[in-house]
């Protein structure tokens, strides 16, 4: 059980890094951050900024592909589908 929880925690923290970034890239937060890093003049930060920008680009690509995947499964006749979605009341 302990082993299971440990592996779970690891999985969780790994995933947390990736995905929060996916969402950030989508909302432009990531871009802003990398730009901010680039403004400082020291070489190492600039390098860091470039790295971050590159990472940001990758994440943007991930996000784009995620959005494409959503479009590919999203019901085509959204408006009609949603309006027709009427249930009898349950409990």
């Amino acid at each position: 059980m302990a082993k299971f929880i440990k592996s779970l925690e690891r999985r969780r923290s790994d995933a947390a890094d990736i995905s929060s970034s996916i969402w950030m890239a989508a909302s432009g937060e990531q871009k802003k951050k990398s730009k901010g890093g680039g403004e400082e003049s020291s070489d190492s930060t600039e390098e860091g900024g470039q790295k971050m920008a590159k990472k940001g680009e990758e994440l943007k690509e991930d996000m784009d592909s995620l959005m494409e995947e959503i479009d590919s499964v999203l019901e085509e006749n959204a408006e009609e589908f949603v309006k027709n979605y009427v249930q009898r009341g349950g409990q």
């Binding site: 779970l8 009898r88 349950g90």
Partner: protein
């Protein structure tokens, strides 16, 4: 009660969308769902090998009731297993319908509302001690249940004359009472239905009908885990503060429409608290409680998660965009709007909302996020798959599940409910199990062996009634 039985009943939304002219009314579509389940029980009402019950409920909804579970985590695994079972049945039904030459799509949603304002529920059941004063328990629990939606809500897009909005909970706007006996009209926070499916002298059922159905394992676990801790604190008379709300039914609606979770609510005492503050008070008591009282590791974990979630809600709710359903879904919709340059008024936004809850993993947006590593899980696919076919090993469900397997193997006629097994050609042999903690499967195996030996002769069978 430290040892408790947990159960969840989930009603699913279902719709058939024809691709041609021919359509299929929902009454007929739902029958196709049950076709794959071979059983000698009543059609549209069966118990499954994992001990769960699957049936058609009020308003033609497929409903899955988990087997009796011994812990919140186990419960969430069995609730997820229900989604997977239904997904199998949905795929089979869709094929069958196609064979009938009615091309179309059968969609099943794990949410709680349709487009015009009908609601269907997700009911939590907690076994409680008969000795505890039920109305005292209910009154103590209500402020907690009213405000917990800030981390248990599944989120909903809705339209008013002013435009399109997003609210915290699917279910909140369909609640009209604090406590009541009905579930279809005048829905309440706590329902008084008292069917413990156990010794009535010892136990009663606490039937909470205010919750949303959750896709996220994290949300679902924190929902049941925190409620269970609070329940235990009430049973131990540990809660020494009074959060009675002046108008809980109004409060539940005010909270759902306030995505900041900070609007203040008036208590009976005249003081005002925000939902986050009320939850913090409960959570702080729980933190002290788990230090002083014997509490399971799962419950401790739930309390730690609870604190984390409240901290995030207070400072930066978007930190919960992988954990809490209403915030995961909001992030999804906002990201879609951003990347597609559209707005909340786009009909696709409503579709994103609905399709998040699709149980078919290839169509579901929740599962699309899961595949892309964008939501936190607590369990593995293997654990969920096992729960589709294996009953919980530490409750009565184990006896039921084992019995169903044996009976099918030996083609024995049977009929079941939660505390009875009836079998034989005349269903005249009965095993009564009033103790939901009992797990004696040998009793079941012996019964099946005896039946095979006696070749189902009525005379010898009448002596076989076993009581436990």
């Amino acid at each position: 009660m430290q040892k408790r039985i947990y159960g969840v009943e989930t009603e699913y939304g279902i719709i058939f969308t024809p691709e041609g002219r021919k359509t299929l009314p929902v009454e007929k579509a739902i029958r196709f769902l049950f076709e794959k389940l071979i059983t000698t029980e009543h059609f549209l009402n069966v118990f499954l090998e994992n001990g769960a019950r699957f049936y058609q409920d009020t308003g033609c909804h497929p409903e899955y009731a988990t087997p009796e579970c011994a812990s919140p985590k186990q419960l969430i695994i069995y609730d997820k297993a229900g989604e997977r079972i239904l997904e199998d049945l949905q795929q089979y039904a869709e094929e069958k319908i196609r064979e009938e030459r009615i091309p179309g799509k059968l969609s099943i949603f794990k949410n709680n509302t349709d487009f015009v304002g009908n609601s269907y529920g997700c009911h939590e059941n907690y076994l409680v001690d008969r000795d505890v004063d039920f109305y005292y328990l209910a009154e103590q629990l209500i402020p907690f249940l009213v405000t917990r939606q800030i981390y248990t809500g599944a989120g909903k897009v809705f339209q008013t004359q002013d435009g399109v909005h997003y609210c915290v909970s699917q279910r909140a706007q369909h609640i009209y009472q604090k406590i009541s006996g009905t579930t279809t009209n005048d829905r309440s926070i706590i329902n008084t239905r008292d069917e413990p499916h156990a010794d009535r002298e010892k136990y009663r059922r606490l039937h909470v009908i205010v919750g949303d159905s959750n896709m996220s394992e994290y949300t679902n676990f924190i929902k049941v885990g925190t409620c269970s801790v609070v329940l235990q604190m009430i049973e131990d008379n540990y809660i020494n503060k009074d959060f009675t709300l002046r108008n809980p039914v109004k409060a539940i609606k005010d909270i759902t429409y306030d995505v900041s979770c900070k609007r203040r609510l008036r208590l009976d005492s005249g003081r005002e608290y925000s939902p986050i503050e009320i939850q913090r008070e409960y959570c702080e008591m729980a933190q002290k409680y788990i230090e002083q009282y014997p509490v399971s590791d799962e419950h401790k974990e739930a309390v730690h998660m609870w604190q984390y979630v409240l901290d995030c809600l207070d400072t930066d709710p978007n930190k919960l965009d992988r954990k809490i359903d209403w915030l995961i879904k909001r992030r999804l919709i906002e990201s879609y709007i951003d990347s597609r340059g559209t707005s909340w008024n786009d009909p696709k936004v409503f579709m994103l909302d609905l399709q998040y809850h699709d149980i078919q993993r290839q169509r579901s947006l929740y599962y699309l996020l899961e595949r892309n590593g964008a939501v936190d899980r607590l369990f593995t696919d293997e654990e969920v798959d096992e729960a589709k076919v294996q009953p919980p090993q530490d409750t009565r469900a184990r006896m039921r599940g084992e019995f169903i397997k044996l009976a099918r193997e030996h083609s024995i006629q049977y009929d079941l409910d939660w505390s009875n097994i009836r079998l034989g050609n005349l269903l005249n042999v009965r095993v009564i199990c009033n103790n939901p903690f009992e797990t004696d499967t040998e009793k079941v195996a012996e019964l099946v062996r005896t039946i095979q030996k006696t070749n189902l002769r009525k005379t010898s069978l009448s002596k076989l009634v076993i009581q436990s």
